[in-house]
Amino acid sequence: MSTATPAASTPEVSSPAAANPPDPSTSDLNATDKLVLDYLRARGHSAAEKLLKESLEASSPPGQTPDPSTSTNTISPEELARRIAVYAQKPTQPGQNALKDSGVVIQELGSMGNPQDIQKLISSIGAVGAEDILSLDPTDKQDGFRELEAWVDGSLDMYKPEFRPILFPIFCHFYLDLIQQGFKEAALRFHEEFSHSLRTRHNQVIHHLSTLLLPSHVQNDELAQRFRNEKYHIRMSRSGFSLLIGWLTEGVGGEGTGSGDGFSGERGKRGRAAVMRVVNNHLKFDVTTSNTTSVSPNAWEESTGVLAPLIPQTGFKDAQSYNVSKGDLKLGPAPLPEELQTEAERELRERALVDRDPNSQYDLQYARQAAPPGVVSPTLSDLPPHPPTFKLVDVKREVEKVRDARKRIRLDPSVLNGVNLNTLQGAAARARALPSICAYTLHDVGEGVSSCTFSQDTSLMAAGFSESYIRIWSLKGEKLRGYRNDFQPNNVKDVASLRKQKEKGGSTTRKLIGHAGPVYAVDFDPIGGSAEPPKYLISASADATARLWSLDTMTNVVAYRGHQNPVWDVQWSPMGIYFATGSRDKTARLWSTDRTSALRIYAGHLSDVDCVRFHPNSLYLATGSSDWTARLWDVQKGSCVRVFIGHQGIVSTLAFSPDGRYLATAGEDLAINLWDLGSGKRIKKMLGHTASIYSLAFSAESSLLVSGGADWTVRCWDVKSAGGLHTKSRENGVNGMTNGVNGTENGTEGAALTNGSSKEQEENIQTVDLVETFPTKRTPVIDVQFTPRNLCLVAGPYLAPEQR
């Protein structure tokens, strides 16, 4: 505390170092003052400048100012005013009343709530205005927050979910205020006292804030600055808002029991004033017309936050209005070129003749994919450019696609509704609803495997390792052979002579070496589809490159450089040729294989782009980011067309439904959100995982979602069901869980927890649409995939117990 508080020899200058004043090392008072004055003048804070001048004139150079925490009462009004002036110059809050802010300084001098000192202080500095100083008593934040919490907890049950979100931003601003004013210890005490009730939901942010200890940290920290400079959005019903106003102005409603006598009268008013200040300066209320009870309890909290920077353009109230303004999307399946279509149909008809298959007509129905009603299909010209001619492999792929569609295992989890699974019919329903899952477990992985994928024809599996290499396995047991080093193009006349150019021997696995950092993503090219093994592999790594590997030669062909920072994810576009990467440098980029520089840069996320996925028709790209949002970009225009706000943590993975209408996102808040792409609205939130979710996949009919995560489970979710929590577990969450946690976590926080009665331990709650959970032995599931015929493949490394 002593450092941050303006100390005697180097007053103010050290504390508002944040405000970039002159060199703090100088001990020459006059020089410092002069610089400060210059600064103020340059910034145009004339009022503050004047104040400072006055104070300088009035004051003799203060000699030994005693430690503020022990004897603040000796401070002179001039000194005080000077400090006030310093705060007035904060560049972050221009135009604020200098006096108002100055009070904060006084308050910090007030040695943490010693009212006697304050009384003396007030009596000694009539010049500044007792009212202001009183209202900025250092205890006001503690008191104010306690009072606010008591008011929220004392309010009617129907309003609680509505009011509770207010606590968090006020907590953050109080904490930042205290830190910025240099009250490290007061801030820590404040944090300790009040953070627990908010921890269940806002653990990450609260923890991050707790790492800020000096004013300069607040000044430099991105998150703190976002809090400072942007409005925090709060949603409230009209009646709730008027209740809040009533409390803030009159103090009505919330004389919480046990709040103590200090809460009534002057002190209570001061506390409320402190809350009021944050409300005025940093909060923005969206007063909705909807009825309090008609909004689900969780929705209130989830639509709050520092939203403005997350929305790509200014001028929009919230994400929803932005999404609406971007108009309709073309979410239908991508069209095939007419020639390719006819060729594929001809091929199918021929095959049907050869196989004497009476269902050929049936096949052709699949061949013509129709968009679901209400969904606009793109035209050929909408797609990113592709080669005008098609090859044999394209025909084969399309034919195989139709055959897959016919032979697919149809999964329909809705049949499980209302069926007793213990009966025979239940077992039959289960077989129709749930997939068969084949688990590929990697053993002896050493430092760790960070990515894994299967080719669409399930002939190959690739894994990227922390040790900077990629390993490919042939799942069919065939030998993987590249071409020889002395490859002679002249000798190649036909298939046989080409085969001769392959290496001798070989094994069923190959190691691809080239990256210089952990390989975070691998993806096989989709051109062959399920008809032919892929020819290329793309990988992304911490060495800031994406690399293209030829599976003919088993070598690295191209390194795509451009990202400044580790590349977290890479994915091929559904028709090959293009691929997208997401990186720590906050951008996603679009590349084509034949160019070494990016074609498009998708910038706008406020933090790392953790995952990228293409829409099935390749018109759009979805990105998930560490700024807790997911965005949908128009691939060609490079503009953001949808923003999805609702996760309370980093978005770790994404999946599009094959019908192109939904996006599933999974976050570090252990929830999976399902979004409707057309409207940009969230359909539901799926809860059940108990640790990070690593991978998501939709079944081919988009009816079933499968997720895998660090809790060593694979979970199946019913996409079409309404979701929602179990009524019973919800009650548990409110009453039982808090008590349980009380015992398991630190006993010291007992008091804090008991008064926060409605902090739900959502992590233990499962929504009803979780159809089934399949635990593995000790395998975090890092990849989940459906084959075109709806067999589910999952992969993960086995963690030997001693490793942990």
Partner: protein, 483 residues
């Protein structure tokens, strides 16, 4: 996630990095007098920077799909923050921090840790330690689920009894797939879940209880003692027959089966070991054989897994050389009947069972140096198995010849009489004698040829005895040539 758990601010409101540490570092850099203010400010800043690095490292940890932060994550984080990484630390060789008791003069500083630097003796390493080259990464595939059901294969975790949350279904009202009660994640204390679900605990206990071996109920234990005491002579016959009847018909004895089988086996061994000439031993053996046959009779018991334990007592009784003389024949006959009973019941499921028993019996029948009792037992055993066994053993295998030779030169005692009787009985089973026997006529050409063949097949001793019945001899010969 880890960092959040480890750094609950409530435990260290004054920060992780202590002012004292700053002072220590300053002293090491030869800056002796550092003011409180500066030290505290530096401490706060150092802490902030540490958090910055840790938060950055957490991203690398997450993307490496791990839940434990390693030194390589820190290295990567330092690299992207444009700081020189700390070389020399590897995740597969983690530094071990040793704790030193706090110093009395600086108690406030708390525990002091240092990195242990182990000395490695190369000689010892080269001599003793075998360095095994680790196998490369490999994969295995298994079915995690087949049509929505998790198969119980070793690769999958053991099934968890499903929690039937009927109450929830009732309250809910929503059409909830009843019985699909979401099985909780497998309970395991070191599971990397950030939140150890409190409600999983009872299930955990439940599972642990399941692992405990099934215990016999008190009632069954009581039944067992009462049964065994009632069976073992001397007891009155009514009790014994009641006990046997109970064994033969009562359901719900499956849990007792292994104990009963063992009791029988031990009883047989005990009776035979003592030399077994007493009358009581004979009775005991008879009862034990009855018990076996009663167990076989009980249709509610699943005896098959215990056949390998039931056969030794039967065969021991059958082939033992010196059974109590009063009961010998009776015992062997009963044992043979029991064996026959067992084979008819179970030889269909175990086709190899009768050949294997045949082998044992043939060895006892033909092998040299076997007592007459054993031989007799073997013959009776073969009778128990069936005609084919008699043909193979007594006629084709030369059992009759061996016994015949034994009898020709042996003493004409009780044992020999019963032995001969048993062989004759076996031959009677093989082919029934005619009602009015006519002896083979030695003068008749055809008859003498028959006699010749009879001598070849059965040996002189028995050929002579059979020869008194013409039709029978022909039948025996016909049977023996049927193969």
């Amino acid at each position: 996630m880890n960092k959040q758990k480890t750094r609950a601010p409530s435990t260290q409101p004054t920060g992780l990095y202590k002012t004292e540490s700053i002072r220590d570092v300053a002293e090491s850099l030869n800056i002796p007098n550092i003011s409180d203010g500066i030290a505290s400010a530096l401490a706060s800043d150092v802490e902030y920077r540490i958090h910055q690095v840790v938060e950055e490292a957490a991203r690398f940890m997450r993307h490496a799909r791990r839940t434990t932060m390693t030194t390589s994550d820190i290295d990567q984080a330092l690299r992207v923050l444009n700081i020189e990484p700390l070389y020399g630390h590897y995740p597969h060789n983690p530094a071990i921090f040793r704790r030193v008791g706090s110093y009395p003069q600086a108690q406030s500083s708390g525990a002091v840790y240092f990195v242990e630097d182990e000395e490695i003796d190369f000689d010892r390493v080269i001599r003793e330690e075998k360095i095994s080259v680790p196998k490369g990464v490999r994969w295995t595939a298994h079915w995690l689920a087949v049509e929505g059901v998790q198969p119980l294969v070793p690769e999958n975790p053991p099934a968890i009894p499903k929690e039937h949350d009927l109450e929830a279904a009732g309250v809910n009202g929503v059409a909830k797939p009843a019985g699909s009660i979401f099985p909780p994640t497998p309970p395991s204390s070191d599971r990397p879940s950030p939140i150890q679900a409190v409600k999983n605990r009872p299930i955990q206990q439940q599972q642990q209880q399941q692992l405990v071996k099934q215990v016999l109920s008190r009632e069954l234990q009581l039944y067992y003692t009462r049964l065994t005491t009632a069976l073992i002579p001397p007891t009155d016959a009514t009790k014994r027959s009641a006990a046997l009847a109970s064994l033969r018909h009562d359901a719900g004895l499956q849990a007792l089966l292994p104990y009963l089988v063992r009791w029988v086996a031990e009883g047989v061994v005990g009776s035979l070991r003592t030399g077994s000439t007493s009358d009581n031993d004979g009775k005991v053996l008879a009862v034990l054989l009855d018990v076996i046959s009663a167990l076989l009779d009980n249709s509610t018991l699943f005896v098959e897994p215990y056949l390998h334990q039931l056969l030794p007592p039967i065969l021991s009784t059958l082939l033992h050389s010196t059974l109590p003389p009063d009961h010998a024949t009776e015992l062997r006959t009963t044992a043979s009947q029991t064996l026959s009973h067992l084979l008819t019941q179970h030889s269909t499921t175990y086709p190899s069972l009768s050949p294997r028993i045949m082998k044992t019996l043939l060895l006892a029948l033909i092998g040299g140096g076997k007592s007459k009792g054993t031989r007799e037992g073997a013959v009776r055993g073969l009778m128990g198995i069936g005609k084919e066994a008699i043909r193979k053993g007594v006629v084709e295998g030369g059992g009759a010849k061996v016994i015949g030779t034994d009898c020709t030169y042996g003493m004409d005692d009780q044992a020999q009489v019963t032995l001969v009787e048993s062989v004759m009985a076996a031959l009677r089973v093989l082919a029934s004698p005619s009602n009015n026997p006519q002896p083979l006529d030695g003068t008749h050409e055809e008859d003498s040829a028959t006699k010749q063949r009879l001598h070849e097949a059965l040996g002189d001793y028995f050929a002579d005895r059979v020869a008194s019945d013409r039709q029978w001899s022909l039948n025996i010969l016909q049977r023996s040539q049927e193969s």
